[in-house]
Amino acid sequence: MSESTSRGSRAGPSHRAVEKSVAVGMGVFASIVIFGSISAGIGWGAEGPRAGFFPFYVGLAILIASVVNFIHAYAESGEGRFADWHQLRQVAAVVVPTAVYVSVIPWIGIYVSSVLLIGFFMKRLGDYSWHLIAAIALGVPLVMFFVFEKWFLVPLPKGPLEAWLGY
């Protein structure tokens, strides 16, 4: 492969590499399942097949399938791209803030963190005016609050702010 194509906008991880890693990942998962099943007992106990009996064969099936998939991926031509870096950056721009979002929910509650998530997204990806951002970022959690806490009586995770407000 020449320098220019790998440096161009189409550059990115090859489809084949990702396929292979997915197959390996599934193989590892299968091994964990098989290991866990064996420790739970895969034989025949007093009440029939023991707890690990069924998952053991399930794990075995995943292992076999992932080996086949790995071989298939190996035979695939190395041309195709999984996605180019620009696309992956876009995906990361969603995944990373969402990861932060889900990890702060237990601490500051879902309402405050939703305000932050929506606000961040709108500023970062859309660059809207602060008025619009404030309206939507505050409005959506407020609607959520009334729908869930008031009408359906389903409590959502709350943090210090809600505690301070008396909820």
Binding site: V18, E19, V22, M26, A30, V33, G36, S37, A40, G41, G45, E47, G48, P49, R50, A51, F54, P55, V58, G59, A61, I62, A65, S66, V68, N69, H72, F82, A83, Q87, L88, Q90, V91, V94, V95, T98, A99, Y101, V102, I105, P106, I110, S114, L117, I118, F121, M122, L125, G126, Y128, I136, V140, M144, F148, F152, L153, V154, P155, L156, P157
Partner: protein
């Protein structure tokens, strides 16, 4: 005629004011879900399922199934106007629907799409009304071995009929089974695959998996493709509707054929997406104007839409009568039944008459309501689509997070949802089908239980699955479905060889 009495009783249940209210709510939410990227039938129902815990099961299923119908209708709007299939089963609708919109015939295309959807659904509901009680009565005689063989058939047809490579389908499916196995073993009460962690005690909930795999995964796919909505105007007025309706009866043959394809594909768990493609392909081959397909032929909208809706609706037939869902959304509905404390399967028709017939009656009413809602509110839904993705995406993320949390009131589930989302994105890009995985998570425990009970009865010998004509023929059908690609390949080779000699 007992069924007819039951059905009328069902109409009485479905026509209660509260149930009509939830029906309308369900349809509107469903269309919204179908229109928005990242939300679809399966995860939309999954997110709203916890809100129905306090309702009566009948009202709850009416609302959730109406969300499903709404989503089926909604998919067509985005396909025609924006060339973006809101749902996978509307991909085939874009082929002719969008060119029609570009020629300024959006109203015609939408009317054709909605009407065909309605016809397909109606056909399937009538079929369910007639056949489901018979299938259920027949299935009442099933023991664990027969029940397992039905699951076996369902999962084998997934492998044989999906367009993804078979070993990828197998891998995805068995990962679903493995996830379902985590936690408390239902038969022995022993813990397994928890590796000493407390969070895994209850296992993986399929609702979390569905919200993550379909919801978050879909958003990641959309953002990667760089969604830009550039759509035609949505002009529907009574005159266009009337003119299109006058034209539609001409395609009755296409319509009927698509209904049959849809019902068949819906009952076998191949689902709505392949049904729509197959129906489009056959219509293209058979039609006199076949070579115009792809350039805005109304028949090219009728065929896939009818089949998709017929398949989506008839997917509920095996769910109600056998406890085997025919589509991911039907799988989520089945999971809902379990949560509401109902045993899906043939006994429903005996023990929960009001529930079953209320649901079937609501299918008739829901589709009529759905048709009216979409015909009158298209501009409104199209306007929602014009909201930029950078506003819609975070709101959908928040909605998914709330949905994941409310399942068990656990913040750990929200994290799990994100993990499932990333996994779903990668698997989708690598051609692993997600539907069998979800079905396996939902059905895993029941399939395993039946399998083990059968083995118990036979002292561990697999011969129980061949012990009588019924179970043997279902198993044989399963094997046929499993090896279908190989068999058809072999037959084709034989034919080719005969042609050359």
């Amino acid at each position: 005629m007992e069924e007819l009495t039951n059905l009328f009783h069902g109409f009485a249940v479905a026509l209660q004011p509260f149930n009509i209210g939830v029906m309308l709510l369900g349809i509107v939410l469903g269309v919204l879900i179908g229109v928005l990227p990242g939300l679809g039938g399966a995860n939309g129902v999954a997110i709203l399922l916890p809100l129905t815990f306090s309702m009566s099961p009948t009202s709850a299923i009416i609302m959730l199934s109406c969300i499903y119908w709404g989503a089926l209708f909604g998919g067509a709007i985005t396909s025609v106007l924006f060339n973006i299939p809101g749902e996978p089963w509307s991909v085939a609708t874009t082929f002719d629907g969008h060119p029609m919109a570009q020629q300024g015939r959006a109203g015609e295309a939408l009317t054709a799409a909605f009407t065909s959807s309605f016809v397909g659904a109606l056909f399937a509901v009538i079929m369910i009304t007639l056949i489901a009680p018979l299938v259920a009565a027949f299935a009442l005689r099933f023991g664990p071995a027969e029940q397992f063989s039905v699951y076996f058939l369902a999962f084998c047809s997934f492998v044989g009929m999906s367009k993804e490579p078979p070993f990828k389908t197998i891998a995805a499916m068995f990962i679903g089974f493995a996830l379902a196995a985590v936690g408390l073993d239902q038969v022995t009460g022993q813990l397994r695959l928890t590796f000493g962690t407390e969070t895994l005690l209850t296992g993986f909930d399929f609702l979390i998996a569905v919200i993550g795999l379909f919801g978050i995964g879909e958003i990641l796919l959309s953002i990667e493709e760089g969604l830009k909505f550039r759509g035609g105007k949505a002009g529907i007025n009574p005159k266009v509707v009337w003119q299109t309706w006058k034209e539609l009866p001409r395609y009755w043959m296409t319509s009927l054929r698509s209904c049959l394809i849809g019902c068949w594909m819906g009952i076998s768990p191949a689902g709505a997406t392949p049904a729509s493609f197959m129906s489009y392909g056959i219509a293209k081959r058979v039609s006199k104007t076949g070579k115009n397909f792809g350039r805005g032929e109304i028949e090219g909208v009728v065929a896939p839409e009818t089949a998709a809706h017929a398949a989506g609706t008839s997917a509920l037939l095996p769910m109600l009568s056998l406890g085997v869902p025919g589509s991911p959304t039907a799988a989520v509905l089945l999971g809902g039944l379990l949560i509401w404390g109902l045993q899906p399967g043939p006994l429903l028709f005996v023990e929960q008459k009001e529930f079953v017939w209320g649901l079937i009656a609501s299918m008739y009413l829901g589709n009529i309501v759905g048709l009216l809602v979409v015909l009158t509110c298209v501009p409104l839904f199209a306007a929602i689509l014009r909201i930029p993705f950078s506003i819609i995406a975070p709101i959908i993320l928040v909605v998914c997070a709330v949905g994941a949390y409310t399942v068990h009131n656990s913040t750990f589930d929200i994290m799990l949802m994100l993990v499932f989302g990333v996994i779903g994105y990668i698997l989708k890009k690598c051609d692993y089908p997600l539907a069998p995985m979800v079905l396996a998570i939902v059905l895993g425990d029941r399939a395993e239980e039946n399998f083990r009970q059968s083995l118990l009865a036979s002292q561990g010998s697999l011969s129980i699955f061949w012990s009588n004509g019924l179970v043997a023929s279902i198993m044989l059908l399963g094997l046929l479905a499993l090896f279908w690609p190989l068999i058809s390949n072999f037959v084709e080779q034989l034919r080719a060889r005969r042609a050359t000699t």
